[in-house]
């Protein structure tokens, strides 16, 4: 198996590979499995039992480790229940990705693993579980993702079983720029503990730069599991773990090179504004080339984009704090100028509570400190949303005589995270291109002065011929149905229309023609019907059966997509009865309203009460017929 290792598909140098192949080339499969478990355990370090303690940004280190005794004996059959259950629930593909790699590592370490979306977990089955790892994200105002709604309702309800047998741990994904950071993960742990379950590894909370803490958490889960769970049977191992690994290395070595940490440099081929002259919105269509990357995507997937902060913005911050652009900062053992760090390594456009508080301390700006301390959660969120760091330093300057060093500045800012955009194309149609639909994000109340880092970079600073660093973020939760005859109801507002462009391109290229219904909302028909010509063409050709639009500002009464659903309740119900899949893509608020409208329609069309309608919606979700990509 080590023959597949090459310098261009692995982190090793050629001499390292030569020596690995020499030492490991003649191991048999069980020897390999043992070694795999050993290395995983060693990486994980000793499990810590203390609750609420975060592993932080670094791994626990290569301390003493318990030998992976169980893994050393791969031929013993696993006992009933002695398997690791890995559950995930997130609106984007991130949670799933982490859960998948944990499951793969565990399999490679010889464990029996089950990987599931919380959407398919029947809560009543919780009482049979013994070892479970949960990867769960937080949305909106501390809400759990849709897929976890049923579990939360169950655990909060009167019928929830006692779960004394269950040992679990939680990886909470979140975003510090929102008020209730990682609330869903915290709450899940709290609810499970309240039912008598116990924690086997500390909860780890991740901000948008989740890779390091997530890796650390996975390692601690693995370490515990390897130490405590029976290994899988000898037959299972090569099939599930080793064969796919080898295949992975040999079949798609190129694409595997590109990741969040090692993005592909894609050439920009087209940047075109697609909102009309008088539009309040600046939405752009971008075409990037993936040529030579080997990256393949499916409609519904997202593309991560690393965008640097604008020079003007960085200069403004440094000027306001009177820090020289070439002041040195040591980061990850490397020396950088603060200018470089602010351009490529730190968030300037999205504030977090920690940054506000950290800056208030550094600046010794009492006004800011006191003011922020008095705000409630919602007010803090508003404060953060309405400002960027540069506003903070301008509005709340350094106290007299106070200076802030470059390193201090770097330390209060969060690491820069990539932004992710739903892909607006299908490779069946555009081949090695990838298309994005990007709205320039303007901070509220800043009269178009302050923009989002990536949207302004993509829309305002790029031209054909430039390059942009990207990586694929697969989203298995937002794909076309396997059965291409399933009717599709495609609901979106604003740039949420992007994945449907990919869907329709795919269907057209394949020659599939399921019943399709596009429901779209934006402010004005004249300027804001994104890709209007294409949709009208598709309707004319018969591939798109219906287009219903809600242009909110085209009449006195505001009109949104949920209004369309209510107006078209009969058709909506009929399509659902015919097995339609309902997709929702766009802002979180729109997603909520659409679900309420859906419930209303089910009430009126099927004569259900609210509870029955809600159950109906939950059932659609369980069946994978209600798919969401909300942000």
């Amino acid at each position: 198996m080590f023959n597949a290792l090459r310098a261009d598909n692995s982190p090793f140098t050629q001499p390292q590979i030569d020596s690995l192949q020499q030492s490991l080339g003649n191991l048999d499969e069980s020897q390999s499995a043992w070694l795999s478990g050993f290395i995983a355990g060693r990486l994980a370090g000793p499990p810590s039992r203390s609750l609420g303690h975060s592993l932080g940004h670094s791994l626990a280190g290569a301390a003493q480790l318990p030998l992976p005794v169980a893994a050393a004996n791969p031929n013993s059959a696993p006992a009933e229940g002695e398997r690791l259950q890995v559950f995930f629930a997130s609106q984007t593909g991130n949670g799933e990705g982490i859960a998948q790699s944990l499951a793969a590592d565990a399999e490679r370490a010889g464990l029996v693993v089950e990987l599931k979306s919380l959407a398919v977990l029947r809560p009543a089955s919780l009482k049979k579980l013994e070892y479970a790892a949960f990867v769960i994200s937080t949305h909106g105002e501390g809400d759990p993702p849709d897929d976890a709604l049923e579990l939360f309702e169950y655990l909060q309800g009167p019928r929830a079983a006692q779960l004394g047998q269950l040992r679990f741990c939680v990886l909470a994904l979140g975003d510090r720029s929102y008020g209730k950071f990682c609330e869903a993960g915290r709450k899940l742990e709290h609810l499970l503990l309240a039912r008598g379950a116990s924690v086997f590894a500390p909860r780890v909370e991740c901000d948008i730069d989740y890779e390091q803490p997530a890796t650390g958490w996975s390692a601690s889960v693995l370490s515990f599991a390897v130490a405590n769970l029976a290994p899988g049977s000898g037959q299972v191992l090569p099939k599930l773990a080793l064969a796919p690994l080898a295949a992975h290395l040999s079949v798609v070595p190129q694409a595997a090179r590109w990741s969040r940490a090692r993005p592909f440099s894609a050439a920009v081929e087209r940047v075109q504004k697609i909102t009309g002259l008088d539009s309040d919105k600046d939405v752009f269509h971008l075409e990037l080339s993936l040529e030579g990357s080997g990256i393949t995507y499916e409609p519904g997937d997202a593309l991560g984009v690393w965008a640097p902060n604008a020079h003007e913005l960085v200069d403004e911050v440094l000027r306001a704090l009177d820090i020289a652009a070439d002041a040195a900062v040591v980061l990850d053992d490397h020396r950088h100028t603060i200018h470089e760090v602010l351009i490529r390594k730190r968030e300037l456009t999205r504030l977090s509570q920690e940054t506000v508080q950290g800056y208030a301390e550094l600046a010794q700006n009492r006004e800011l400190g006191n003011h922020f301390a008095q705000l409630d959660d919602e007010q803090r969120r508003d404060f953060i949303e309405q400002r960027q760091f540069v506003d903070l330093v301008t509005d709340f300057p350094l106290a007299a005589g106070i200076r802030v060093s470059a390193s201090e500045l770097a330390s209060v800012l969060r690491p820069l995270a990539p932004r992710s955009y739903s892909i607006a194309s299908s490779q069946a149609s555009v081949d090695e291109q990838v298309h994005l639909t990007v709205a320039t994000l303007y901070a509220p109340g800043s009269s178009k002065k302050r923009t989002g880092v990536a949207s302004s970079f993509l829309n305002q600073h790029l031209a054909a011929g430039d390059e942009v660093h990207v990586f694929l973020e697969p989203n298995h939760r937002f794909r076309l149905p396997e059965d291409r005859t399933t009717p599709l109801i495609l609901i979106s507002a604003g740039t949420g229309i992007a994945p449907y462009r990919g869907f329709l391109q795919q269907l057209q290229a394949e020659g599939s023609s399921p019943a399709t219904w596009l429901i779209f909302g934006n402010p004005h028909l004249r300027t804001d019907f994104l890709y209007q010509r294409e949709w009208l063409e598709l309707r004319k050709s018969g591939l798109l059966d219906h287009i219903d639009c809600a242009f909110s500002r085209d009449q006195n009464e505001k009109r949104y997509v949920q209004h369309v659903l209510r107006e078209q309740g009969a058709r909506l119900n009929q399509w659902l009865e015919q097995g339609a899949r309902l997709y929702i893509c766009g802002g979180l608020g729109m997603g909520r309203e659409v679900e309420l409208a859906l419930r209303d329609v089910l009430c009126s069309e099927r004569g259900l009460d609210t509870g029955q309608a809600a159950e109906c919606v939950a059932e659609l979700r369980r069946q994978g017929r209600l798919l969401k990509d909300l942000y």
Partner: protein
């Protein structure tokens, strides 16, 4: 009409299927994904008085933006004889402010045009126009359009009589379909009838497929030929004897439209074919229009106007057809003569003692511009006017029926809002006329309304240099050869060929009795100016006393091939 069994034009099929002009207009209006109508409905809509257009200035930009063209509609309101009350003027003005582009366009056929109306506002606009007791039905389409009538007569009792006749013809030839009321005015069909409209709707004159092509009528009161009586399908020339209206000479088969590079198409002057009494006007109209209905060419729209029917069959055939349908013969035509086809601007008094003020509106565009707030001015005038507005056939407006004591107030408003330009501008500019052209007209090949004022400015300089500043010359420009501004009846006619390119036609008669002749093809501004500079120089030095520019060009042989209207009584 062709003897061969040729296929009918697609528009004939659309009309036939439209169920008396319903088409799928209601579905088109309800389609929120596009600002356009369904393709077929863009033809049906014309009968209801509106054209689908788009802002061509943004067509390319929006194509790149993957947006459909910036669809908008031109709505035409019929004003038979051009007579409009102050209340109606104010209503149109308000509609233009609220739903159109904030300007009013006076047409070359005495109608109003509103531009820039978007689809969802069509219903409110048409409904509001009807509330003002004007309408839009048959303002466009293959039917009889707005009936024109000389707006400012020397003798007001005669004018009143002629107007009554013009309005009666207009009413008589208005389509009977109930589709218009159903779609725009929300009126249901008469209760108790079957739900098939076919059982109910009936077009006694037009039939279910209407006419092969548009049909235009005018009434002229000599010596004024401001309606360009030779330019329309059917025309009545008032014959006044002993200060009484004895009847009308009938002229048929005029039309401006042509197609570049297609010699089978041409502008043609109407033939005077006889005389009828006022009480025969409706019978004459119905007979001529049904001849055209039955014999006009429905296989080729470029060959479908009455002028081609006439040239294909001959005048004798027409008389035979006419007698069979009308039941009488036209009397021999009576003598008359025309002096000019432009407007008389400024103050004039009629025999009833009332005053009339003709105001120059450049290219008919009533707008508020820096230094000339004509739209506001006419609004102020409408608020105090006791008389009425009369839209002229040359895109101007007459404030009519002003008592002696009210003149000062009107004068003050006219001066305040820059409406006194008739008093200041050159005769050339006062005799200039342009169609709308870019950016809204879908047919336009070159600039028209937006460019002619500038070109006239350059010609004014040339004429002044040759001492011709006070010479009246008719100059008309259109963006395409279809002839909305009747360019073939101007002494200088400019017909758009491509961006910045025009065909230069010269030598029409100042009184509209002779077509001009193509003099230079596809010329730029520079060529136009140098050609005309040379001709102005010649004209200035060798013209006869009182000779007009068009006549001079013919006398000196500069142009020769113009179609002289030989049958006109002199």
């Amino acid at each position: 009409m062709s003897d061969e069994k040729l296929a009918l034009t697609p528009v004939e099929g659309i009309k036939a299927r439209s169920n008396y002009l319903r088409g799928t207009l209601l579905q088109s209006l309800a389609d929120g994904a596009t600002g356009a109508l369904a393709e077929d409905d863009t033809h049906v809509s014309k009968f209801h008085g509106f054209y689908q257009q788009d802002d061509r200035d943004y067509r390319e930009e929006r194509r790149r933006q993957m947006l459909e063209p910036d669809h908008q509609f031109m709505i035409r309101a019929r004003v038979p004889g051009g007579i409009c009350t102050p209340v109606q003027w104010l209503a149109l003005d308000a509609i233009a402010q609220k739903w159109a582009n904030g300007t009013i366009r006076l047409t070359t056929r005495q109608a109003f045009q509103l531009h820039g109306v978007i689809k969802r506002n069509l219903q409110p606009v048409i409904s509001a126009i009807n509330d003002s007791l004007l309408d839009t039905i048959a303002a466009c389409g293959d039917v009889n359009r707005n009936v024109m009538c000389t707006p400012l007569p020397e003798s007001s009792p005669i004018h009143r009589q002629v107007c009554v006749d013009a309005q009666a013809v207009s009413r008589h030839l208005t389509p009977h379909t109930t589709a218009y009321h159903e779609i725009w005015l929300g009126k249901k069909r008469v209760a108790g009838t079957a739900d098939t409209a076919l059982a109910e709707d009936h077009e006694p004159i037009y039939g279910a497929t209407y006419l092969p092509r548009k049909f235009k009528m005018s009434f002229a009161i000599p010596p004024r030929n401001d309606v360009d009586v030779y330019a329309h399908d059917l025309n009545f020339i008032a014959i006044v004897e002993d200060n009484l209206l004895s009847g009308y000479n009938v002229a048929v088969g005029g039309g401006m439209g042509a197609t570049h590079g297609d010699p089978a198409t041409y502008p043609r002057l109407a033939d005077v074919i006889g005389f009828c009494t006022p009480d025969q006007v409706l019978s004459v109209s119905e007979a001529i229009i049904t001849i055209q209905r039955d014999h006009g060419d429905r296989t080729e729209r470029k060959h479908a106007r009455l002028k081609y029917t006439l040239d294909d069959h001959g005048l004798d055939w027409l008389h035979t057809q006419f007698e069979a349908r009308a039941g009488f013969r036209l009397a021999p035509q009576r003598p008359f003569s025309f002096t000019h086809n432009g407007d008389r601007l400024g103050w004039q008094q009629t025999s009833d003692g009332l005053w009339h003020l003709g105001l120059f509106i450049q290219n008919g565009r009533v707008a508020d511009l820096a230094g000339a707030t004509q739209l506001s001015g006419l609004r102020e005038i409408a608020r105090i006017l006791q008389g009425e507005f009369r839209l002229t056939p040359n895109q101007n407006v007459v404030i009519s029926g002003i008592a002696d004591r009210d003149r000062a107030a009107i004068d003050a408003l006219v001066e305040q809002h820059g409406l006194d330009s008739w008093n200041r501008l050159s005769p050339l500019r006062l005799h200039s006329m342009a169609c709308v052209g870019f950016p809204t007209c879908g047919l336009s090949m070159a600039e028209s309304e937006r460019y002619l004022p500038e070109l006239v400015g350059q010609l004014e300089s040339l004429m002044a240099a040759h001492g011709l500043a006070e010479q009246a010359i008719t100059i008309r420009m259109t963006g395409c050869p279809n002839g909305c501004a009747r360019p073939y009846l101007a002494e200088i006619g400019l017909v758009g060929k491509g961006p910045g390119l025009y065909n230069l036609h010269l030598g029409a008669a100042f009184n509209g009795t002779r077509l001009n002749t193509l003099y230079r093809e596809s010329v730029h501004e520079g060529d136009i100016l140098s050609v005309l500079d040379g001709l102005f120089a010649m004209f200035a030095t060798t013209r006869n006393d009182g000779e007009t520019f068009g006549d001079f060009l013919h006398r000196t042989g500069v142009v020769t091939a113009g179609t002289e209207q030989g049958k006109i009584g002199q």
